[in-house]
């Protein structure tokens, strides 16, 4: 009992001193569990996030745009890979994590349960969704768990590139024809509120925030990050000549922040619970890829085993 208490104190002291926790260090079970939940959720978001954007690869309007989008979606697969690896350092394997995604036990970012209906959505996702993700991820480069923080450094570099790319798609549309401008405005109308929801429930509702702040897994609250995002994004929308679909949005001279309208939390919880427009489809697509890939994975394993056996047999002969 005494010993456990010492370990816990030493752990918290390390965190308080802003030192990183590494895989072999002692950590409380709850810390480990929180990290597995959060990192795997993040990994799943990258993988499921490939689907809405992947929906436009085949229809990208130029070869340059096609290559950029394909490379972007591939980057997300890469992010998924290093995040699964970061989660594996906590003693859980990728297969289990993927199963949890497929059974609905693990969550992923709800934003990917909205459909991409036009090419402008690809711009809006880059600008808003990657923009919102960056707010969160920049904070996470300083998170207390070493492997997670390091994965984030690499991911952040690529994400900010994606965000600029998305913004540039919209800029091109906004300088184009009437139809293109309408496409851009329509995309903003549909993606704005779900992007604000990406930061999660408000601080008073968030069940994980307090403990996560104490452990320095999170270093800013959901509401702080959301405000930071709104403040950064509104001027960017103005530059595009697009209007934010929020009649209550206004600049507050005193606080130096934008005030914005109330988020539709019913919608937020509905989508979290699985009732968003694409929840079912997204998971079905992931399960299908996994199931249809089973024979391929089995073949690769069987072949590797045969090769090993042959090598051993050859050695014996020699």
């Amino acid at each position: 009992m005494e010993k456990l208490h010492d370990l816990q104190q030493a752990f918290q002291a390390k965190i308080d001193a802003d030192e990183k926790i590494e895989p072999k260090d002692w950590m409380p079970d709850a810390y480990r569990k929180t990290l597995i939940r959060q990192i795997s959720q993040h990994a799943h978001s990258e993988i499921v996030g490939m689907l809405p954007e992947g929906n436009w690869i085949s229809r990208a309007p130029s070869l340059r745009r096609k290559v950029a989008l394909l490379a972007k979606v591939q980057d997300e697969a890469g992010h998924g890979l290093y995040l699964y690896s970061a989660a594996e350092t906590l003693g859980i394997d990728r297969e289990t994590l993927i199963d949890d995604l497929h059974t609905g036990k693990a969550k992923y970012s709800s934003i990917f349960n909205y459909p991409t209906l036009s090419w402008a959505d690809i711009g809006a996702i880059g600008w808003l969704v990657d923009g919102a993700a960056i707010m969160n991820q920049v904070m996470l480069t300083r998170t207390s768990y070493g492997p997670y923080a390091r994965a984030m450094v690499r991911i952040c570099k690529e994400e900010s590139f994606h965000q600029r790319q998305g913004y540039e798609i919209l800029l091109t549309l906004c300088r184009g024809s009437e139809a293109q401008k309408e496409m851009a405005q329509d995309a903003l109308n549909r993606w704005w509120w779900p992007s604000l929801m990406m930061f999660g429930p408000s601080d008073k509702e968030s069940q994980h925030t307090e403990q996560s702040m104490l452990w320095k897994i999170k270093r800013k609250t959901n509401d702080e990050l959301r405000q930071q995002f709104v403040d950064a994004t509104v001027p960017q929308a103005e530059f595009l000549g697009l209007s934010i679909p929020d009649p209550d949005l206004k600049w507050n001279e005193e606080t130096g922040h934008y005030e914005f309208g109330e988020i539709n939390w019913d919608e937020f919880w509905q989508v979290v619970k699985g009732n968003g427009p694409c929840n079912r489809e997204r998971i079905k697509a992931r399960i299908k890829a996994h199931e249809e890939g089973a024979w391929v994975r089995e073949a690769a394993m069987a072949y590797a085993k045969k090769r090993k056996e042959r090598a051993t047999a050859a050695q014996k002969v020699a």
């Binding site: 085949s58 979606v73 697509a285 072949y303």
Partner: protein, 252 residues
């Protein structure tokens, strides 16, 4: 037809091959059997699109009508496409995709090896860059042919079936028509008659290691190179060209 126009027409064959195959492979993005292979297929697709851009830009220049790479990719219809039939075949399952890739890569590699020494310097420089990439593609697809062929009973069966389905489309690769022969005469491109044997040798060597049978086909399908395609290409183009067709003349 002037020589430069003919070279332009020949480049369309090369560029359409990489474009159509790149488009097919991109369909896998987000749906691969395992994350690492999803990334690998996307890599190949990205390489092929990169090659496409160089080839179509050059084809457009030679044509002299001011058509850009995008005009060529997005504003031609089925009958104007010059890719071989093999690359437009649907992905099928992973075995279908690997077999198609392997049958194409084996040819693509030999072709590029020659094109590195093409009398057309610009084409030679595109080929040099592409050969590095295609060397990797061929290694990837060959390794998977072996893994699937010599893996489980199920994988063996699937990859053998895919080979049978696709074999008919290989003849077109190494059978020259008039344009191919002219390009060979000018030293721009290889004499395809001379690629036939090395191609079959390369393919058979891997099939052998993979414990697979070379399909015994009596008839080889032709036509892609002159614009007589399978029904599949029209659907691929309808999807790929959608925005450019629905909103003509805009910048994206």
């Amino acid at each position: 037809m002037e020589t430069s126009t003919k070279l332009g027409a020949y480049l369309l064959r090369l560029g359409d091959n990489t474009l159509v195959l790149g488009q097919r492979l991109a369909e896998w993005c987000g749906h691969g059997p395992v994350l690492e292979q999803d990334i690998a297929l996307t890599n190949i697709s990205l390489d092929l699109f990169g090659q496409t851009r160089s080839l179509l830009q050059y084809a457009g220049e030679l044509e002299g009508k001011g058509r850009s790479e995008d005009d060529l990719a997005f504003l031609r219809d089925v009958r104007e496409f010059r890719n071989c039939l093999l690359v437009e075949q649907p992905n099928g399952d992973f075995a279908g995709t690997i077999a198609r890739q392997f049958l194409f890569d084996s040819f693509h590699y030999l072709l590029l090896e020659f094109l590195c020494d093409s009398t057309d310097k610009h084409l030679a420089s595109i080929a040099k860059k592409s050969l590095k990439e295609v060397t990797y593609h061929l290694r990837f697809s060959s390794e998977w042919m072996i893994r699937l062929g010599d893996g489980t009973e199920v994988s063996h069966h699937k990859i053998q079936a895919a080979l049978e389905d696709l074999w008919d489309y290989t003849g077109e690769l190494y059978t020259p028509d008039e344009l191919d022969s002219e390009m060979a005469f000018l030293g721009v491109a290889p004499d395809l008659n001379k690629l036939r044997e090395p191609y079959l040798r390369k393919v058979e060597a891997i099939l052998d290691t993979a414990t697979l049978r070379k399909p015994a086909s009596a008839f080889l399908q032709m036509g892609g190179k002159t614009g007589r395609h399978s029904e599949h290409l029209g659907h691929l183009l309808a999807e790929m060209q959608f925005l450019q067709r629905a909103y003509p003349g805009l910048t994206w």
